[in-house]
Protein backbone atom coordinates (compact mmCIF):
# COMPACT_ATOMS: atom_id res chain seq x y z
CA UNK A 1 0.00 0.00 0.00
CA UNK A 2 2.19 2.82 -1.27
CA UNK A 3 -0.61 5.17 -2.29
CA UNK A 4 -0.73 6.87 1.08
CA UNK A 5 -1.10 10.29 -0.54
CA UNK A 6 -4.36 9.22 -2.12
CA UNK A 7 -6.01 8.90 1.28
CA UNK A 8 -6.07 12.67 1.52
CA UNK A 9 -7.51 13.17 -1.93
CA UNK A 10 -11.07 14.46 -2.11
CA UNK A 11 -13.86 11.94 -2.41
CA UNK A 12 -14.96 11.40 -5.98
CA UNK A 13 -18.14 13.30 -6.59
CA UNK A 14 -19.78 10.51 -8.52
CA UNK A 15 -18.33 7.16 -9.46
CA UNK A 16 -18.03 6.36 -13.13
CA UNK A 17 -20.95 4.20 -14.25
CA UNK A 18 -20.45 0.45 -14.03
CA UNK A 19 -18.04 0.51 -11.09
CA UNK A 20 -18.62 -0.50 -7.48
CA UNK A 21 -19.38 2.26 -5.04
CA UNK A 22 -16.23 2.32 -3.00
CA UNK A 23 -17.19 3.01 0.57
CA UNK A 24 -15.55 0.81 3.16
CA UNK A 25 -18.17 1.74 5.70
CA UNK A 26 -20.78 -0.25 3.86
CA UNK A 27 -19.00 -3.57 4.34
CA UNK A 28 -19.01 -5.79 7.36
CA UNK A 29 -15.27 -6.26 7.28
CA UNK A 30 -12.76 -7.46 4.68
CA UNK A 31 -14.30 -10.89 4.31
CA UNK A 32 -17.62 -9.27 3.44
CA UNK A 33 -15.89 -7.11 0.86
CA UNK A 34 -14.14 -10.14 -0.60
CA UNK A 35 -17.44 -11.98 -0.77
CA UNK A 36 -19.09 -9.06 -2.56
CA UNK A 37 -16.23 -8.96 -5.06
CA UNK A 38 -16.48 -12.71 -5.51
CA UNK A 39 -20.21 -12.45 -6.14
CA UNK A 40 -19.33 -9.96 -8.91
CA UNK A 41 -17.53 -12.83 -10.68
CA UNK A 42 -21.01 -14.31 -11.04
CA UNK A 43 -19.85 -17.88 -10.60
CA UNK A 44 -20.27 -20.53 -7.96
CA UNK A 45 -17.90 -19.82 -5.12
CA UNK A 46 -16.59 -23.35 -5.54
CA UNK A 47 -15.41 -22.35 -9.02
CA UNK A 48 -13.99 -19.00 -8.08
CA UNK A 49 -10.59 -17.84 -9.17
CA UNK A 50 -8.70 -16.93 -6.06
CA UNK A 51 -6.01 -15.10 -8.06
CA UNK A 52 -8.60 -12.95 -9.82
CA UNK A 53 -10.26 -12.23 -6.51
CA UNK A 54 -6.98 -11.20 -4.90
CA UNK A 55 -6.32 -8.80 -7.78
CA UNK A 56 -9.77 -7.30 -7.49
CA UNK A 57 -9.40 -6.78 -3.77
CA UNK A 58 -5.99 -5.15 -4.14
CA UNK A 59 -7.31 -2.92 -6.94
CA UNK A 60 -10.23 -1.99 -4.76
CA UNK A 61 -8.06 -0.99 -1.83
CA UNK A 62 -5.83 1.00 -4.18
CA UNK A 63 -8.88 2.86 -5.46
CA UNK A 64 -10.52 3.28 -2.09
CA UNK A 65 -11.12 6.82 -1.03
CA UNK A 66 -12.23 8.30 2.26
CA UNK A 67 -10.50 5.58 4.19
CA UNK A 68 -10.65 6.27 7.90
CA UNK A 69 -7.64 4.71 9.48
CA UNK A 70 -9.29 2.63 12.23
CA UNK A 71 -11.79 1.31 9.70
CA UNK A 72 -9.06 0.65 7.18
CA UNK A 73 -6.74 -1.36 9.42
CA UNK A 74 -8.53 -4.68 8.98
CA UNK A 75 -8.80 -4.15 5.22
CA UNK A 76 -5.10 -3.34 4.94
CA UNK A 77 -4.12 -6.41 6.92
CA UNK A 78 -6.24 -8.51 4.57
CA UNK A 79 -4.68 -6.78 1.57
CA UNK A 80 -1.20 -7.58 2.84
CA UNK A 81 -2.14 -11.18 3.47
CA UNK A 82 -3.71 -11.51 0.01
CA UNK A 83 -0.65 -9.99 -1.64
CA UNK A 84 1.45 -12.57 0.18
CA UNK A 85 -0.91 -15.36 -0.88
CA UNK A 86 -0.76 -14.20 -4.48
CA UNK A 87 3.02 -14.27 -4.50
CA UNK A 88 2.99 -17.81 -3.09
CA UNK A 89 0.48 -18.93 -5.69
CA UNK A 90 2.50 -17.49 -8.58
CA UNK A 91 5.80 -19.04 -7.52
CA UNK A 92 6.73 -22.39 -9.05
CA UNK A 93 5.13 -25.16 -7.03
CA UNK A 94 7.32 -26.23 -4.15
CA UNK A 95 6.10 -29.38 -2.42
CA UNK A 96 8.09 -28.43 0.68
CA UNK A 97 6.51 -24.98 0.98
CA UNK A 98 5.11 -24.23 4.39
CA UNK A 99 2.37 -23.14 4.56
CA UNK A 100 1.03 -24.83 1.49
CA UNK A 101 -0.39 -21.96 -0.63
CA UNK A 102 -3.05 -24.24 -2.07
CA UNK A 103 -4.29 -24.98 1.42
CA UNK A 104 -4.36 -21.27 2.29
CA UNK A 105 -6.39 -20.52 -0.81
CA UNK A 106 -8.72 -23.39 0.02
CA UNK A 107 -9.25 -22.00 3.49
CA UNK A 108 -10.09 -18.58 2.06
CA UNK A 109 -12.53 -20.14 -0.34
CA UNK A 110 -14.11 -22.11 2.52
CA UNK A 111 -14.48 -18.97 4.59
CA UNK A 112 -16.21 -17.18 1.74
CA UNK A 113 -18.57 -20.08 1.13
CA UNK A 114 -19.34 -20.37 4.80
CA UNK A 115 -20.01 -16.66 5.20
CA UNK A 116 -22.29 -16.69 2.20
CA UNK A 117 -24.10 -19.72 3.58
CA UNK A 118 -24.67 -17.94 6.90
CA UNK A 119 -25.90 -14.83 5.09
CA UNK A 120 -28.42 -16.88 3.20
CA UNK A 121 -29.38 -18.78 6.33
CA UNK A 122 -30.05 -15.48 8.11
CA UNK A 123 -32.28 -14.37 5.26
CA UNK A 124 -34.03 -17.76 5.25
CA UNK A 125 -34.71 -17.37 8.97
CA UNK A 126 -36.17 -13.91 8.46
CA UNK A 127 -38.36 -15.26 5.68
CA UNK A 128 -39.94 -17.75 8.10
CA UNK A 129 -43.23 -17.06 9.88
CA UNK A 130 -42.45 -15.13 13.03
CA UNK A 131 -44.13 -14.98 16.38
CA UNK A 132 -45.75 -11.61 16.94
CA UNK A 133 -46.09 -11.03 13.20
CA UNK A 134 -47.42 -14.19 11.63
CA UNK A 135 -48.32 -16.28 14.67
CA UNK A 136 -49.75 -14.98 17.91
CA UNK A 137 -50.10 -16.44 21.35
CA UNK A 138 -52.81 -15.56 23.80
CA UNK A 139 -52.03 -12.07 25.08
CA UNK A 140 -53.27 -12.48 28.64
CA UNK A 141 -53.44 -16.13 29.56
CA UNK A 142 -54.84 -16.87 32.99
CA UNK A 143 -51.72 -18.80 33.82
CA UNK A 144 -51.53 -21.98 35.78
CA UNK A 145 -51.75 -21.48 39.49
CA UNK A 146 -49.52 -23.30 41.83
CA UNK A 147 -50.89 -23.41 45.34
CA UNK A 148 -48.17 -23.67 47.85
CA UNK A 149 -50.15 -25.38 50.54
CA UNK A 150 -48.50 -26.25 53.80
CA UNK A 151 -49.52 -29.64 55.06
CA UNK A 152 -48.93 -29.97 58.74
CA UNK A 153 -47.44 -33.09 60.06
CA UNK A 154 -48.61 -34.23 63.47
CA UNK A 155 -49.02 -37.84 64.41
CA UNK A 156 -51.58 -39.19 66.84
CA UNK A 157 -48.71 -40.10 69.11
CA UNK A 158 -47.45 -36.50 69.02
CA UNK A 159 -50.89 -35.32 70.02
CA UNK A 160 -51.33 -37.72 72.92
CA UNK A 161 -47.84 -37.35 74.25
CA UNK A 162 -48.25 -33.58 74.17
CA UNK A 163 -51.39 -33.86 76.23
CA UNK A 164 -49.61 -36.29 78.52
CA UNK A 165 -46.81 -33.77 78.93
CA UNK A 166 -49.22 -30.98 79.80
CA UNK A 167 -51.02 -33.15 82.34
CA UNK A 168 -47.75 -34.33 83.84
CA UNK A 169 -46.61 -30.73 84.10
CA UNK A 170 -49.74 -29.79 86.03
CA UNK A 171 -49.71 -32.74 88.45
CA UNK A 172 -45.99 -32.52 89.09
CA UNK A 173 -46.47 -29.28 91.06
CA UNK A 174 -48.59 -31.25 93.62
CA UNK A 175 -45.79 -33.79 94.04
CA UNK A 176 -43.39 -31.00 94.75
CA UNK A 177 -45.46 -29.76 97.68
CA UNK A 178 -45.72 -33.21 99.19
CA UNK A 179 -42.05 -34.01 98.95
CA UNK A 180 -41.03 -30.81 100.68
CA UNK A 181 -43.60 -31.36 103.48
CA UNK A 182 -43.83 -28.74 106.19
CA UNK A 183 -45.83 -28.36 109.38
CA UNK A 184 -48.01 -25.36 108.74
CA UNK A 185 -48.27 -22.67 111.41
CA UNK A 186 -51.98 -23.35 112.09
CA UNK A 187 -51.22 -27.03 112.58
CA UNK A 188 -48.33 -26.24 114.93
CA UNK A 189 -50.49 -23.85 116.99
CA UNK A 190 -53.34 -26.28 117.27
CA UNK A 191 -50.95 -29.02 118.36
CA UNK A 192 -49.00 -26.88 120.82
CA UNK A 193 -52.13 -25.43 122.41
CA UNK A 194 -53.55 -28.90 122.84
CA UNK A 195 -50.38 -30.27 124.49
CA UNK A 196 -49.85 -27.17 126.64
CA UNK A 197 -53.33 -27.45 128.12
CA UNK A 198 -52.24 -30.40 130.26
CA UNK A 199 -48.82 -29.12 131.33
CA UNK A 200 -48.83 -26.54 134.12
CA UNK A 201 -45.05 -26.61 134.84
CA UNK A 202 -42.22 -25.09 132.82
CA UNK A 203 -41.49 -27.52 130.08
CA UNK A 204 -38.84 -27.40 127.36
CA UNK A 205 -40.32 -26.52 123.93
CA UNK A 206 -38.47 -29.46 122.37
CA UNK A 207 -40.48 -31.87 124.49
CA UNK A 208 -43.68 -30.79 122.77
CA UNK A 209 -42.28 -31.90 119.38
CA UNK A 210 -43.19 -35.29 117.92
CA UNK A 211 -40.71 -37.93 118.91
CA UNK A 212 -40.14 -39.76 115.64
CA UNK A 213 -38.90 -37.05 113.26
CA UNK A 214 -36.78 -39.05 110.85
CA UNK A 215 -37.10 -36.57 107.99
CA UNK A 216 -34.64 -33.86 108.89
CA UNK A 217 -36.19 -31.14 106.75
CA UNK A 218 -39.61 -31.93 108.22
CA UNK A 219 -38.12 -31.81 111.70
CA UNK A 220 -36.67 -28.37 111.03
CA UNK A 221 -40.05 -27.22 109.74
CA UNK A 222 -41.79 -28.60 112.86
CA UNK A 223 -39.30 -26.84 115.13
CA UNK A 224 -39.64 -23.52 113.31
CA UNK A 225 -43.43 -23.70 113.20
CA UNK A 226 -43.68 -24.72 116.85
CA UNK A 227 -41.38 -21.85 117.91
CA UNK A 228 -43.48 -19.34 115.98
CA UNK A 229 -46.62 -20.98 117.42
CA UNK A 230 -45.20 -20.57 120.95
CA UNK A 231 -44.54 -16.87 120.29
CA UNK A 232 -48.04 -16.46 118.91
CA UNK A 233 -49.66 -18.24 121.90
CA UNK A 234 -47.66 -16.02 124.25
CA UNK A 235 -48.83 -12.93 122.33
CA UNK A 236 -52.40 -14.16 122.66
CA UNK A 237 -51.84 -14.52 126.41
CA UNK A 238 -52.33 -18.28 126.41
CA UNK A 239 -48.71 -19.16 127.36
CA UNK A 240 -45.60 -17.82 129.03
CA UNK A 241 -42.09 -18.18 127.57
CA UNK A 242 -38.78 -18.26 129.45
CA UNK A 243 -35.13 -18.64 128.50
CA UNK A 244 -32.25 -18.57 131.05
CA UNK A 245 -29.56 -17.37 128.68
CA UNK A 246 -28.77 -17.06 124.96
CA UNK A 247 -29.04 -20.51 123.28
CA UNK A 248 -30.33 -21.99 126.61
CA UNK A 249 -33.39 -24.27 126.37
CA UNK A 250 -36.67 -22.42 125.77
CA UNK A 251 -39.17 -23.14 128.53
CA UNK A 252 -42.93 -22.91 128.13
CA UNK A 253 -45.98 -23.17 130.37
CA UNK A 254 -49.67 -22.48 130.06
CA UNK A 255 -50.99 -19.24 131.46
CA UNK A 256 -54.26 -19.17 133.25
CA UNK A 257 -55.26 -15.63 134.03
CA UNK A 258 -58.44 -15.24 136.04
Amino acid sequence: MSEGADFDAPVRASPPPGTLVLQLGSWEGPLDLLLTLARAQKVDLAQISILALVDQYLDFIREAKALSLELAADYLVMAAWLAYLKSLLLLPKDPEAEPDPAELALKLQFQLQRLEAMREAGQALLARPQLGWDMFRRPNPEGLAEDRRAVYDCSYYDLLSAYGAITARRTRSVHVVRRRAVMALDEAMERLEHLLGRSLDWTELSRFLPGDLRDESYARSVLASSFVAALELTRQGKATLSQGAAFAPILLKARHDG
Binding site: D147, R149, V151, Y152, C154, S161, A162, I166
Partner: protein, 192 residues
Protein backbone atom coordinates in the same frame (compact mmCIF):
# COMPACT_ATOMS: atom_id res chain seq x y z
CA UNK B 1 -67.05 -26.01 7.49
CA UNK B 2 -66.74 -28.01 4.28
CA UNK B 3 -67.13 -24.97 2.08
CA UNK B 4 -63.61 -23.50 1.64
CA UNK B 5 -65.07 -20.02 1.96
CA UNK B 6 -66.63 -20.92 5.29
CA UNK B 7 -63.47 -22.66 6.43
CA UNK B 8 -61.38 -19.56 5.74
CA UNK B 9 -63.80 -17.38 7.69
CA UNK B 10 -63.97 -19.85 10.56
CA UNK B 11 -60.18 -20.08 10.78
CA UNK B 12 -59.91 -16.31 10.80
CA UNK B 13 -62.50 -15.99 13.57
CA UNK B 14 -60.74 -18.68 15.57
CA UNK B 15 -57.38 -16.93 15.32
CA UNK B 16 -58.82 -13.49 16.06
CA UNK B 17 -60.70 -14.67 19.14
CA UNK B 18 -57.69 -16.61 20.35
CA UNK B 19 -55.28 -13.68 20.00
CA UNK B 20 -57.69 -11.05 21.36
CA UNK B 21 -56.91 -9.56 24.75
CA UNK B 22 -60.61 -9.11 25.59
CA UNK B 23 -63.94 -10.65 24.54
CA UNK B 24 -65.05 -9.37 21.14
CA UNK B 25 -68.40 -8.15 19.89
CA UNK B 26 -69.69 -8.92 16.43
CA UNK B 27 -68.69 -5.38 15.45
CA UNK B 28 -65.13 -5.98 16.62
CA UNK B 29 -64.98 -9.23 14.68
CA UNK B 30 -66.37 -7.64 11.54
CA UNK B 31 -63.70 -4.97 11.73
CA UNK B 32 -61.05 -7.71 11.73
CA UNK B 33 -62.39 -10.02 9.04
CA UNK B 34 -63.98 -7.39 6.84
CA UNK B 35 -67.56 -7.32 5.61
CA UNK B 36 -68.51 -10.95 5.11
CA UNK B 37 -72.18 -10.93 5.91
CA UNK B 38 -73.61 -12.35 9.10
CA UNK B 39 -70.89 -13.80 11.32
CA UNK B 40 -73.31 -15.31 13.80
CA UNK B 41 -73.88 -18.66 12.04
CA UNK B 42 -70.11 -19.13 11.67
CA UNK B 43 -69.55 -18.32 15.35
CA UNK B 44 -72.31 -20.69 16.43
CA UNK B 45 -70.89 -23.50 14.29
CA UNK B 46 -67.46 -22.83 15.73
CA UNK B 47 -68.82 -22.83 19.29
CA UNK B 48 -70.55 -26.15 18.60
CA UNK B 49 -67.35 -27.68 17.25
CA UNK B 50 -65.52 -26.64 20.43
CA UNK B 51 -68.24 -27.72 22.83
CA UNK B 52 -66.80 -31.19 23.59
CA UNK B 53 -63.23 -29.88 23.80
CA UNK B 54 -61.24 -28.63 26.76
CA UNK B 55 -61.46 -25.14 25.28
CA UNK B 56 -64.91 -23.66 24.67
CA UNK B 57 -66.07 -20.71 22.64
CA UNK B 58 -68.72 -18.84 24.60
CA UNK B 59 -70.82 -15.72 24.23
CA UNK B 60 -71.27 -13.54 27.29
CA UNK B 61 -73.39 -10.43 26.93
CA UNK B 62 -72.85 -10.21 23.20
CA UNK B 63 -69.09 -10.72 23.48
CA UNK B 64 -67.33 -13.84 22.27
CA UNK B 65 -64.32 -15.44 23.83
CA UNK B 66 -62.48 -18.67 24.24
CA UNK B 67 -62.16 -20.07 27.74
CA UNK B 68 -61.26 -23.37 29.32
CA UNK B 69 -64.15 -25.77 29.88
CA UNK B 70 -65.70 -25.06 33.27
CA UNK B 71 -65.26 -28.63 34.53
CA UNK B 72 -61.48 -28.58 34.11
CA UNK B 73 -60.55 -25.87 36.58
CA UNK B 74 -58.87 -28.32 38.89
CA UNK B 75 -56.27 -29.15 36.23
CA UNK B 76 -55.23 -25.53 36.07
CA UNK B 77 -54.05 -25.48 39.64
CA UNK B 78 -51.41 -27.68 41.05
CA UNK B 79 -50.99 -27.97 44.74
CA UNK B 80 -47.38 -28.11 45.66
CA UNK B 81 -47.59 -29.44 49.15
CA UNK B 82 -44.89 -28.70 51.61
CA UNK B 83 -44.99 -30.75 54.75
CA UNK B 84 -44.33 -28.78 57.89
CA UNK B 85 -43.84 -30.15 61.32
CA UNK B 86 -46.33 -28.69 63.75
CA UNK B 87 -44.49 -26.79 66.47
CA UNK B 88 -44.53 -28.08 70.04
CA UNK B 89 -46.78 -25.15 71.01
CA UNK B 90 -49.07 -26.12 68.13
CA UNK B 91 -49.32 -29.77 69.15
CA UNK B 92 -49.99 -28.89 72.77
CA UNK B 93 -52.63 -26.32 71.93
CA UNK B 94 -54.29 -28.78 69.60
CA UNK B 95 -54.28 -31.42 72.33
CA UNK B 96 -55.82 -29.03 74.86
CA UNK B 97 -58.54 -28.02 72.41
CA UNK B 98 -59.26 -31.65 71.57
CA UNK B 99 -59.55 -32.71 75.22
CA UNK B 100 -61.39 -29.65 76.51
CA UNK B 101 -63.46 -28.30 73.65
CA UNK B 102 -65.17 -25.93 73.42
CA UNK B 103 -62.40 -24.01 75.10
CA UNK B 104 -61.42 -20.34 75.21
CA UNK B 105 -57.94 -19.03 74.76
CA UNK B 106 -57.51 -18.02 78.41
CA UNK B 107 -58.49 -21.57 79.35
CA UNK B 108 -55.93 -23.01 76.95
CA UNK B 109 -53.31 -20.76 78.49
CA UNK B 110 -54.35 -21.80 81.96
CA UNK B 111 -54.14 -25.50 81.11
CA UNK B 112 -50.85 -25.24 79.24
CA UNK B 113 -49.40 -22.80 81.77
CA UNK B 114 -48.06 -20.79 78.82
CA UNK B 115 -49.44 -17.85 76.88
CA UNK B 116 -50.78 -18.98 73.50
CA UNK B 117 -49.86 -16.74 70.58
CA UNK B 118 -52.57 -15.98 68.04
CA UNK B 119 -50.31 -17.46 65.36
CA UNK B 120 -50.45 -20.88 66.99
CA UNK B 121 -54.24 -21.07 66.71
CA UNK B 122 -54.04 -19.60 63.19
CA UNK B 123 -51.77 -22.44 62.11
CA UNK B 124 -54.19 -25.01 63.57
CA UNK B 125 -57.05 -23.36 61.71
CA UNK B 126 -55.01 -23.22 58.49
CA UNK B 127 -54.31 -26.94 58.90
CA UNK B 128 -58.07 -27.38 59.06
CA UNK B 129 -58.04 -29.02 62.47
CA UNK B 130 -59.49 -26.25 64.62
CA UNK B 131 -62.44 -23.92 64.14
CA UNK B 132 -63.97 -21.08 66.15
CA UNK B 133 -67.01 -22.52 67.98
CA UNK B 134 -69.10 -19.58 69.09
CA UNK B 135 -68.67 -17.31 72.07
CA UNK B 136 -68.84 -18.25 75.71
CA UNK B 137 -71.74 -16.43 77.41
CA UNK B 138 -69.56 -15.07 80.18
CA UNK B 139 -68.23 -11.54 80.71
CA UNK B 140 -66.12 -10.51 77.71
CA UNK B 141 -67.85 -13.19 75.62
CA UNK B 142 -64.55 -14.93 74.74
CA UNK B 143 -64.33 -16.92 71.52
CA UNK B 144 -64.32 -20.68 71.98
CA UNK B 145 -62.40 -23.18 69.87
CA UNK B 146 -63.22 -26.73 68.91
CA UNK B 147 -61.83 -29.40 66.58
CA UNK B 148 -63.18 -30.12 63.11
CA UNK B 149 -64.23 -33.31 61.31
CA UNK B 150 -60.89 -33.07 59.44
CA UNK B 151 -59.17 -33.32 62.79
CA UNK B 152 -60.97 -36.58 63.50
CA UNK B 153 -60.22 -37.79 59.98
CA UNK B 154 -56.54 -36.89 60.23
CA UNK B 155 -56.09 -38.82 63.46
CA UNK B 156 -58.40 -41.58 62.31
CA UNK B 157 -60.87 -41.08 65.15
CA UNK B 158 -64.56 -41.91 64.85
CA UNK B 159 -65.39 -39.29 67.46
CA UNK B 160 -63.77 -37.30 70.25
CA UNK B 161 -64.86 -40.00 72.66
CA UNK B 162 -62.18 -42.18 71.11
CA UNK B 163 -59.47 -39.99 72.63
CA UNK B 164 -57.84 -42.00 75.40
CA UNK B 165 -58.68 -40.85 78.92
CA UNK B 166 -56.09 -39.83 81.50
CA UNK B 167 -56.01 -43.32 82.95
CA UNK B 168 -55.22 -44.70 79.49
CA UNK B 169 -52.49 -42.11 79.02
CA UNK B 170 -51.00 -43.05 82.36
CA UNK B 171 -51.18 -46.74 81.53
CA UNK B 172 -49.43 -46.02 78.25
CA UNK B 173 -46.67 -44.23 80.15
CA UNK B 174 -47.47 -40.92 78.53
CA UNK B 175 -47.73 -39.12 81.85
CA UNK B 176 -44.30 -40.21 83.05
CA UNK B 177 -42.42 -38.75 80.18
CA UNK B 178 -39.42 -36.58 80.67
CA UNK B 179 -40.33 -32.93 80.94
CA UNK B 180 -40.46 -31.30 77.51
CA UNK B 181 -37.44 -29.45 76.24
CA UNK B 182 -39.48 -26.30 76.05
CA UNK B 183 -39.55 -25.07 79.63
CA UNK B 184 -42.99 -23.68 80.30
CA UNK B 185 -42.90 -19.99 81.03
CA UNK B 186 -44.92 -18.59 83.87
CA UNK B 187 -48.26 -17.38 82.64
CA UNK B 188 -47.96 -14.08 80.90
CA UNK B 189 -44.68 -15.03 79.28
CA UNK B 190 -44.47 -15.18 75.51
CA UNK B 191 -44.09 -18.18 73.31
CA UNK B 192 -41.29 -18.27 70.82
Amino acid sequence: MDDPQDLALTRALEAILFAADAPLTLTDLTRHVGERGDLLPALRALAASYAPRGINLVERGGRWQFQTAPDLGHFLRTARETVKKLSRAGVETLAVIAYHEPVTRPEIEDIRGVAVSGGTIDVLMAAGWVRPAGRRETPGRPLQYATTPEFLAHFNLASRRDLPGLADLKAAGLLDREPPREVPLPLGGREE
